[in-house]
Symmetry: C2
Subunit: 375 residues, 2 copies
């Protein structure tokens, strides 16, 4: 059984009343106490190994100093750095971050939210937001300060830290256009998520800005942000438009799905089709080929979200700011100029081992690709 010294023990040892001990230990009230007494109390506390119980304190003050963090999928490598950013800021501010996984299921998110509410968390960081999210209404009903991170909601009177998704996709599209591509398709993310919708819109806008007509900008949306869904969407996209020379994927996992579908068709990346991802997840530089992608400042996203939340907790009247972080393009080995002649639709596995035709720019292979390390 854990045995903790209580405030009474310290008070007895220091020969003062418990409330004095409390005053000494609380930064806001320490100045109300004689230096001599404060020293005596501090000494007794140290001697007894006394740790104030923040839970009991919270019961009285109605502040738990705990923050609930909702993550859609910890196994998606984008989120751990975000979590660490959140955690580091909150810990430094004296809060405890309690993170829960939702597996992208609204029901789990709801359940986790209720557990957080029951534990009387002081605020929430939500990385799970849908564009139209019933959870938000519940959060507001509970009166809990909350900040969204990475994903945001449609009509947002709630602070959020997001990427410039449209701007990031424009970077990708422009990179491909500069390489000489015109037949560029988009494997979009789930349209119920702000990232999926914003990146899709950004793709369409960037294509238009490049003078490519709307019908030359095909899109297939994936049902979720994972490899299998990416492969499925790429398949639909390439079935409809076999002559595409480049694909902009809405995130890196979808890009990996594109890799798979290209391989299945006997097409090589980037020789036959260039692929760009989004997020620059850890190890994206290790893929085969190393993935050209849009880098987002993962950790900073978490840091800013936590700061915004602390701000919202301090003065609850503050307006709901949205912080938008700038992404940047990281060029690796999955993009190259288009081939002179697009591959025939029937091209199959036989082609796999073939070397690039002479006269073409040499394909960038995994080994030869310019490699840029993450971090």
């Amino acid at each position: 059984m854990p045995k903790h010294a209580g405030i009474h023990d310290v008070a007895r040892a220091a020969g003062v009343h418990p409330s004095t001990v409390s005053r000494v230990l609380n930064a806001r009230t320490r100045h109300l106490v004689t230096a001599a007494v404060a020293a005596r109390v501090a000494a007794a506390a140290r001697r007894l190994g006394y740790t104030p119980d923040p839970v009991a304190a919270g019961l009285r003050t109605r502040r738990s100093r705990a923050i609930g963090v909702l993550i859609p999928d910890l196994a998606n490598p984008v989120f751990p750095p975000i979590v660490r950013g959140i955690e580091s800021v909150l810990t430094d501010a004296g809060y405890t971050a309690v993170v829960a996984n939702t597996d992208n299921e609204p029901a789990r998110a709801r359940a986790a939210l209720e557990r957080f509410a029951a534990r009387r968390v002081d605020g929430l960081v939500l990385a799970t937001a849908l564009r139209r999210d019933a959870l938000i209404a519940r959060v507001k009903a509970l009166g809990l300060p909350a900040v969204l991170v990475n994903r945001t909601i449609e009509a947002g009177a709630i602070p959020a830290v997001v990427n410039d998704d449209a701007g990031g996709i424009a970077l990708a599209v422009n990179h491909l256009v500069a390489l000489g591509h015109a037949a560029i398709g988009h494997v979009a993310g789930p349209q119920r998520l702000s990232t999926g919708a914003a990146r899709r819109a950004g793709y369409l806008a960037a294509m238009k800005a490049s003078g490519i007509p709307a019908r030359g900008a095909p899109v297939a949306a994936a049902r979720s942000y994972d490899i299998a869904a990416g492969a499925q969407a790429a398949r639909a996209l390439l079935d409809a438009r076999p002559h595409l020379t480049a694909i902009v994927a809405a995130n890196d996992l979808l890009a990996l799905g594109c890799y798979d579908e290209l391989a299945r068709r006997g097409l090589q990346c980037p020789r036959d089709v260039s692929v760009v991802g989004f997020n620059d997840m850890p190890f994206a530089d290790r893929f085969s080929p190393p993935l050209t992608t849009v880098h987002i400042p993962h950790r900073l996203l978490g840091v800013e979200a936590a700061r915004l939340l602390l701000e919202a907790i301090e003065r609850s009247g503050a307006p709901a700011r949205e912080v938008r972080l700038a992404p940047r393009l990281v060029v690796r080995g999955s993009t190259a100029g288009p081939r002179q002649k697009p591959v025939a639709p029937g091209a199959r596995l036989a082609q796999r081992g073939r070397r690039s035709s002479p006269g073409q720019p040499p394909p960038r292979t995994a080994a030869g690709a310019p490699r840029q390390r993450y971090r």
Copy 2:
């Protein structure tokens, strides 16, 4: 301001005494109450949206129903699945998992432990254990039930869920020997960690069992489990033994470091040197070449750890069991038979683009490698 209905509100609404409400809501005491009254109370509770406050309850019962989880590095992809396994078991059992990152720094681990203790967690899951870990003494002094996961301590009277590290490494060594390798080196992990030490010992034992003399089993230990340290160790290893045809790395990140060092020397994997990793981290099948590695059941590791902890909490007299999970080898593209003639020590970048000599078994390339998906 969050507004929660309290037990008194429910009592008033149901026309009973608060203690009766408490009895109804507590599974252990519900049978002490009339069915009629119980129904009335339940209805009132639902109507008011009453959620019992586990924190206040904990103050009284001295059980917080919270478990602290210490993770060395969430950004290492091995840990998220472990965390999810832990979380799912604990959540189902009515506990809240509070996870903290230690960045592999004992001081942070200690600080996090003290925060956990202050919050009166009911138990701990530690993924951070050093072979000789001062933290453990503190945990025992606090009287907290604890379970180790993945890493364990030297002299262990504390329950743990670990991999059969030696057995896993034997799988790797035997695989290489079967391919015809004899000049096999080991890039070991940090020797202050049980995984680093056990895998090193396993390597030496397996080499010996294969009839390879001890001096033919060179080892270089990395300072930490990351890519840079792996590259550094591989460098030392190859400087000392330039004729190695295979390297067994103590984990996947170290294996990636080996990839880097081989590339730097103008050597190709697996043509010139085969590499085996350990852990089968997510996306290991995506590397270039896809990594042959020892798969460990990440999620199950977490699940078992959580179960063991719950067991330890229920009956604190239980003996400290150690659960050892069996790994399995996953063969991908980073291993192949050795070349007839080892590459000359001076071989350099010029060699990079060279095709494999005729008459050799064709190197397994990324595209052609047998690929086995994780999950």
